[in-house]
């Protein structure tokens, strides 16, 4: 069994010192080790953004795709080989602006992959424009007088889209974050984890301190039951989604792969590419 160090490669991340994404990377490496993965059985697919670089910083198979499309790529990888553990990841712009449609559909499709968003409420790589997670009033390069749109709540949207695993965490809470990623990987179905991961360069509002002051841990809320969807939704609304922990999990719903008619029980990429002549003849006969 691999240790978390075996998920390290020799690349020095090009993130700014202090960027929240460092901890997300560390948590992913730890979680991968903790759930007993070997590096070659993990595929990390990422989008474009500062955050998107993460697939190059973890020793595993890594696919750094195009902006907003980490989820369809990741789903394709999983369908090709259900034996792999597949993690999709990227930024809030990647997942909630250009990739919003895919995010909602990946959630409802419920293929057994884990999606980790590094949510810094800003576009980092393009140097500080507003993101769908930027709060109304937030001043950025593209909203010099403050954003006039409302921020989306990924957690509420995910619940509404029929998610079976929805969690939120904060990048400095390495232990919590690691545990949540483990739970996400172990979840049978689509697991969606939004991580507050501060951008120290362009976001001077939603800082580490800001989060420390504003986040509520779900395990401090008495009687919180993560299998109760209505409670989950109410709690999100009440706390303006500023909670961390597993917000909702439905362990009963089968994952997509389990439902696909005729789907190979082993990795599809190992199946035979040829047909019996008889099988071919049967197919052809339908056209006679």
């Amino acid at each position: 069994m691999a240790t978390f160090k075996e998920f390290r490669n020799d690349v020095k991340p090009n993130w700014c010192p202090g960027c929240g994404d460092f901890s997300v990377q560390a948590a992913m490496q730890r979680a991968a080790a903790n759930v007993g993965l070997e590096p070659e059985n993990l595929a990390v697919v990422s989008g474009i953004g500062c955050s998107g670089r993460i697939s190059g910083y973890i020793k595993s198979y890594g696919f750094h795709g195009i902006h907003g499309r980490s989820l369809p790529i990741a789903q394709g990888v999983k369908m090709a080989n259900r034996e792999l553990t597949v993690i999709a990841s990227g930024g809030d712009g990647d997942g909630f602006a250009i990739g919003m449609g895919h995010t909602i559909h990946a959630i409802r499709r419920n293929i057994d992959i884990t999606y980790i968003v590094m949510d810094n409420q800003i576009y980092g790589l393009t140097k500080g424009q507003t993101s769908p997670r930027s709060a109304a009033g937030f001043k950025t390069k593209s909203t010099p007088e403050g954003s006039i749109e409302q921020a989306v709540s990924p957690m509420e949207l995910a619940l509404s889209a029929g998610a079976t695993f929805v969690a939120q965490s904060f990048s400095t809470d390495l232990k919590d974050l690691t545990a949540i990623i483990e739970a996400g990987i172990n979840h049978k179905g689509f697991s969606f984890i939004n991580v507050f991961s501060p951008c120290v360069t362009y976001n001077k509002i939603n800082t580490y301190d800001w989060f420390k002051q504003n986040l509520t841990k779900l395990n401090t809320i008495e009687g919180y039951d993560s299998s109760n969807k209505e409670q989950a939704m109410q709690t999100l609304m009440k706390h303006d989604s500023l909670v961390t922990g597993i917000i909702y999990q439905d362990s009963s719903r089968p994952s997509y792969q389990e439902l696909v008619p005729g789907y190979a029980e082993k990795a599809l990429n190992k199946s035979d590419l040829t047909l019996d002549q008889a099988h071919f003849d049967k197919l052809v006969a339908e056209f006679m």
């Binding site: 750094h64 795709g65 195009i66 394709g76 090709a80 590419l273």
Partner: protein, 585 residues
Amino acid sequence: MINQLSWKVGGQQGEGIESTGEIFCIALNRLGYYLYGYRHFSSRIKGGHTNNKIRVSTTETRAISDDLDILVAFDQETIDVNYKELHEGGIIIADAKFKPVCPEDTKAELYIVPFTEIAAELGTSLMKNMVAIGATCAVLGMEISVFNDVVDEIFGRKGEEIVKKNMDAITAGYKAMEVLLGEKLGAMELEKADGQKRLFMIGNDAIALGAVAGGCRFMAAYPITPASEIMEYLIKKLPQLGGTVIQTEDEIAAATMAIGANYGGVRAITASAGPGLSLKMEAIGLAGITETPIVIVDTQRGGPSTGLPTKQEQSDLMAMIYGTHGEIPKIVMAPSTVEEAFYDTAEAFNLAEEYQCPVIVLSDLQLSLGKQTVQPLDYSKVEIRRGKLVDFDIEEPENKSYFKRYEVTEDGVSPRVVPGMKNGIHHVTGVEHDETGRPSETALNRKVQMDKRMRKLNNLTNTFKTPVYKNTPHEEADLLILGFNSTRGTIDEAIGRLESDGMKVNHAQIRLIHPFPADEVLSLVQAAKKVVVIENNATGQLANIIKMNVGHVNKIKSILKYDGNPFLPHEIHTQCKEMFEYGNV
């Protein structure tokens, strides 16, 4: 006795026009006739004129006929829209229900048969199309028993009673027409066919079957006319092989999911038409730079934008060659028959893996949807070649470094491992990268990797099986006709007539569009006095590609058609002749 026949059935969409043609065709195909169908339909579900024109012949024909022998009309519009195609001696068989009238200048004779009434009497007016088939049989002097099996297969599930009723309807149609025809019974008797078992299918069937035969086990796609049949076929068949199809939220998801699956080691396909392909452009570039195999089908239809979604066009050529930003190695194939559509699609998966790049299989609406007789498909001709896919154990790399997925090699192709393989770990990115896939911006690396990728296809025009389909009997030709995709049969037929007129005509259909087989085409162009490129588009896209690659800018002329309909043989024939007569080739 005649050796070919052109038959058309028309009415309102949603009325069963398609199935009328279908039953008629299946039966005739089994007798060994060659059929070639063309569907006229609109982008709506019910209502609006639709028709199905079918060429029946004792020899292979792959062209819509210029005119019409028999028109079966279920409404007045069918007569009004189509009567001009009928020649002297032609026959219109119309349902009495709509009180058919023929325009004054109708050359054909009108026979009024109470299709609906007869059908209703026998149980349900839905069987009116059976009555029409029976009536057709009377004109052809064909025994109605030829329909026994087909009717049995189609209605068998619903019970013997229904089978019988449908056969009764055919009989009744025959009888009614027999009376009307009098001595003209069997006026259009067809020569006996060879009785060979051939297939009857559309190009999309062949593409989908080719995918199955080519080892494709996953598809991600979004519905669109005229590509949906490919998806619908694979939805039915892939589960038998452990595979599946995901109908995605859009075409961008379809293309990127297929990229993910191919990266994952499964042969995966996506298919769409123009609008979907425009949306896939960014994904195609990603496949190009990450050297991920992917097979993408584009069934061209009338453009631009939503354009003419149910009409014939060949106007995506340039967009398929050039339509992603930046420069990637890419293969664009254009089968020109249904058989080629089968073999080419299967082969596309080999090329995609061998060259580790996107392969676009270009089709057009007439090839994709024109139902026709097809020669037996030979599975033994289908190979599976996976190129440099690593299927052996990999040694542990030194210093635990990454696998050189993008190793610089002489032929530009690098060893490819898929996730899950021990010691094969590497990085994949749409950013320029070094041999292990790590992003790199240095000028040196950039040039090396770009050159590596682009040289992969340097030799393809030489190794590709048949980059150009040639029917070039003349060493020195008066005329060389060039085309691609479904125009082949029509050009063939036109050439027959031009040769009868005394012209020496060579014919080449470009099957490998990109990289372009310039040498081969150049020598054909040089061996002809005049050159004309036939295309279903407005700007002469193939002609432009040829000019760019082989020069002879002034020698190369175009015959274009972009009104939504396929070429008819006489159009090519006359336009070529005119060019000669007025010396303006």
